[in-house]
Amino acid sequence: MKKLIIIPAYNEEDNLKKLINNIKKYAPSFDYIIVNDCSTDNTAEVCRVNNYNYISLPINLGIGGCVQTGYKYAYQNGYDYAVQVDGDGQHNPEYLKSLMDKILEENIDFVIGSRFIEKSGFQSTLSRRIGITFLSKLIEFTTGTEVKDVTSGFRLGNREIIKCFAKSYPRDYPEPESIVTLKRKGFNIVEVPVEMLERQSGTSSIKSMKTVYYMVKVSLAILIDWIKTT
């Protein structure tokens, strides 16, 4: 059984080393691939010097295109399972086991590591939680499935999911939208409680100024996906 960790990394020179060490320590049965999204810092250099397994994108694609490269890699190399772990260190590789257990024992297609089930660990800011709750309700309305942590980037999928994402994946702010797409295609999705850490350094892909834009765009994407037929 081949399992891959996809690590999207944009300017994560300070966080990668710790993350890779944690992966080797807590999830040794997983392979990993770092997808360097044309970082402007020394991310590529850090990967090269430490001999990490990494792909460097020649131009910056944003989080969606970056993660999708990882799924394409997983698909081409015949992986059975692929999990996204953010390059900023907010996802703890120790939880990979519980995600994996869940997907195996209950024959689930897609498992999302959720901050809001046991409400422990870093819970994000109040304004973000309100936004996430709104998107969660919107997704529940359009798909009939309750997913609490719709923006979680800590997600594990089986071969079918890998194939689906390798073929098409939303461009920017992909997480909530891709949940709706997967539900539309009939995949089953389950959340597993995890604790997340506050990002250790660098900046998030969603900056405060862009929050309104983010909400409008993602809500629209969810509604559009709802009326898609294929």
Binding site: V35, Y54, I55, S56, L57, P58, I59, L61, G65, Q68, T69, K72, Y73, Q76, R171
Partner: protein
Amino acid sequence: MSLKLQIILIISSLLSIFLLVDMIRKESLGLKYSLSWLTSAMMILILALFPDLIDYTSLLLGIVNPMNALFFIGNLFLLVIILTLTIAVSRSSVRVKELTQEVALLRYQYENERAK
């Protein structure tokens, strides 16, 4: 429409058509995207040559001032052109993304082979 405006429109639309054809000839403007531009320029030329058409159109559309009808039609053409461009940009950006990913994956393979 005054004779002065008519002459200005005829000259400028002829000039635009000439420039458009020249750009298509030099392949700096793709034939595919030039159609909407050419059609717009032709329309202006026709309307300038036969101003009665504008009066007729404005009557048909229920627009009191014929010049407003001209602006309205002009705007419609612009919207079509912009939409065509937005579609083209969307498609190009998807293609660029796919190519970028392909290049990155191939380079990864290549460097791994070479390292062996």
